[in-house]
Each structure stands twice: as structure tokens, then as C-alpha cells.
Symmetry: C2
Subunit: 212 residues, 2 copies
């Protein structure tokens, strides 16, 4: 980091004696998200918990969801991933979704492990379950379905989430063979049609005109 | 219990001073299954752990899988359930499977809770994960697929297990709406086609002749 950048960092923080640490803000953010959930968390509240100015948090991380991405150590920005999933032929969106998920899980063991850790935590801790509902389902999958123009985005997002979690359980947590060690092309052939139907297929309660 | 039955029970046990307790055998069985897994557990080993004659365990519970059913407090015999799922039109087997699962989960809160408890436990304890793999997947779902005459029973069973676990996670563990409070008919419309395809649809690696 350049001296100018370091000076700027110090200037923005409320504790000029010790340069505010990016990792310390992330730690405060993780604790804050866990305690308050994603929806009720604010940059202001996280900054206060970290003892820094909100402007510094904005400076480092931008928006609340980018801070969440950094706190979760996701290997990619999920909003970029959603954009890539939505872009392309509508009849292969299920395949693109699954490719992105498998890429994140397989990207490197630390990042994949963090996500599997979140699923494990969600089973035993209400905070982590809430994070899963509020961030992954409402903030990522529901908008993805809305971007596709499909009916009933909340129901579709819940269906998608249920099969994503079940696949993660079978592949990583419980270790059910042959899914646990299956190649990507096998998983794609098995699961992409499921995701495709959940994302764009007819659902109970659809108006007839909306069915595709 | 009649006096004659009580006498018979005492006669069969190895500790004639204290009549062998059905619940004590079940407790020993739970601990034994947890420690040794389902496949390696034997009636003889469980009887020894409970301090009773193996004949008494057979007398109370019949076979090892029936003992497992009793130890898990399942509200129905899963082998009966498998028979009911297999019987009927082949193109509605996915629906029958899901109906049975929802019936077990909803039968009474204790039994449903025990199964959800097993899923929670499987996430955090290797023993419970092994029980899930060995009993539910290999002992129940794989034979179900074999009875249907479908290709690749292990892969199909793993696919089914992944969506069953994911549905249980969404509905009971994480609480993702609208799945968490959806009516049976909505769940059937959403998930039965998924189970149908996993049980009887074409899969990668199928021989062309086997596809239906």
C-alpha cells in the first residue's frame, strides 16, 4: 500500500493512533451480521462496532452486500455470478446456475469449505440459518428469478435453495456416493434439468399465461 | 403384559433376577448402531451390550432392520413404505415416494422430529452421517430403485436422498418460505416430478435400451 493510501486510511478512521485494519472491520462485520442478521445490519452499525468511521467501511468495501461477500470470503461476487447466470439462452439457465455453484464450491478448498461450513452452521445455529435465508435466498436467488421474469420468485428460489443444500449435503457433508465423487458433467446431466424446471417450468398457482 | 408373557420374557433373558427391559435393549441398540454403524452392527453384539440373550432381541424385534426401525422410533416400517411406493403406476412413483415421506414427517411431531434430528445430527456427527448412508440410502432407497427395475440404483438413490435432505432442510431446519409452510399439494406439484425423474428418468451413463 502506498504511503498516500495509508494516510487516507488513517485519516478516515476514528482511531488515528492505530491504522484501521481491514481484517478487523471484517471480523466486526461477521459478528454483527451473525447477531443482527443480514437485513437489519447497517454499515453504520458495523462501523460503530469496529470503532471506525462508516466512510472507511464504504471506502474499503462499498455497499453492505459487498461487505457481506468479503466477510463470507466468497471467491466471486455473487451479484456478478447472478448476472452471468441470467445472461444467455433461457433454456440453459439451470445449467449455468449449477456451473456457477460447482465453480464456487470447487474454486479453492478454503472458499468452498467456508460455504459448506455455513450450511453446517445453519443446521445448528439460528443466526446462520437466518443468514442463509436473508442473504443467499432473498438477496441472491429471488432477484435471479425476478431477472428471468419467471412467476412466483419466492417459491422458485426456495425450490432452488432446497436442491442446492441437498446436493451440498450429499456431496460434502454426508458423503453419499456416487454423488460425493461424481464429475461435473454427471452432476450437470442429473441436476441441471431440476434447476431448469424450478427456475422456468410451470408451478402450481401459476396463471396459465405465465407458464412457459 | 400377561404373567405368562412376563415369565417367557424372563426365561429368555440372561439376567433372570431383573426382567429384561425392551427400552433398555433399544437404548443399547441406539448406542451400538451409533458406534459401529448399521452395516457392521449385529443382533449378537447388541444383545451382548444389553446383557441379554440374542434370542430375546430376536423375540422382541425380529431382524436387525426392524430393531433399527424401533431404535429410530420410526412411525411406520420403512420396508412396508417401500412396498407401497413400488406398488402402482410407474409414472407416479415419484408422487408416492413424496407422499410417504411427508406422511412420516407429519405423522406426529415426535417421529417427524426424530428424523429431522437425524438430519441435524448427520451434519455434525460422522456416526449419524454413516447411519444415513448405510440405513436410509443403501438399505431403503437403493432397494426401492432396484425394485423399480431402473438403471444405476446407487446414483438414483443418491439423487433422491439429496432432494429429500434438501427439502427437509428448507422445510424444517432453515425454514425457507414458502416451502416451510407449503401445503402437501404444493409440495407434490413442485417435487414429485423431480423424484419421478430421479427414480425412472434417463441418466448419464444409461444404456440407450434402458432409458424410459
Amino acid at each position: 500500500m502506498s504511503l498516500a493510501a495509508r494516510r487516507k486510511r488513517v485519516r478516515l478512521g476514528r482511531t488515528p493512533g492505530s491504522p484501521p485494519n481491514r481484517e478487523a472491520i471484517l471480523e466486526a462485520a461477521r459478528a454483527y451480521f451473525t447477531e443482527h442478521g443480514y437485513e437489519q445490519a447497517t454499515i453504520r452499525g458495523i462501523a460503530a462496532a469496529a470503532g471506525v468511521d462508516p466512510a472507511l467501511v464504504h471506502h474499503y468495501f462499498g455497499s453492505k452486500d459487498q461487505l457481506m461477500v468479503a466477510a463470507l470470503k466468497l471467491p466471486i461476487n455473487p451479484h456478478d455470478a447472478v448476472r452471468q447466470i441470467v445472461t444467455g439462452p433461457a433454456d440453459r439457465v439451470g445449467e449455468r446456475l449449477l456451473r456457477q455453484i460447482l465453480a464456487v464450491w470447487g474454486a479453492d478448498s478454503a472458499a468452498g469449505g467456508a460455504l459448506i461450513g455455513l450450511i453446517r452452521a445453519a443446521v445448528t445455529h439460528d443466526d446462520a440459518a437466518r443468514m442463509m435465508r436473508e442473504f443467499f435466498v432473498r438477496e441472491l436467488i429471488v432477484p435471479l428469478v425476478e431477472d428471468l421474469g419467471s412467476s412466483q420468485p419466492r417459491l422458485r428460489a426456495a425450490l432452488v435453495a432446497s436442491q442446492v443444500m441437498g446436493l451440498a449435503m450429499a456431496r460434502f457433508v454426508i458423503g453419499i456416493e456416487p454423488i460425493a465423487s461424481a464429475e461435473t458433467k454427471v452432476l450437470l446431466a442429473c441436476y441441471a434439468p431440476t434447476f431448469q424446471r424450478y427456475l422456468t417450468g410451470p408451478l402450481p398457482g401459476d396463471k396459465a399465461a405465465r407458464r412457459r
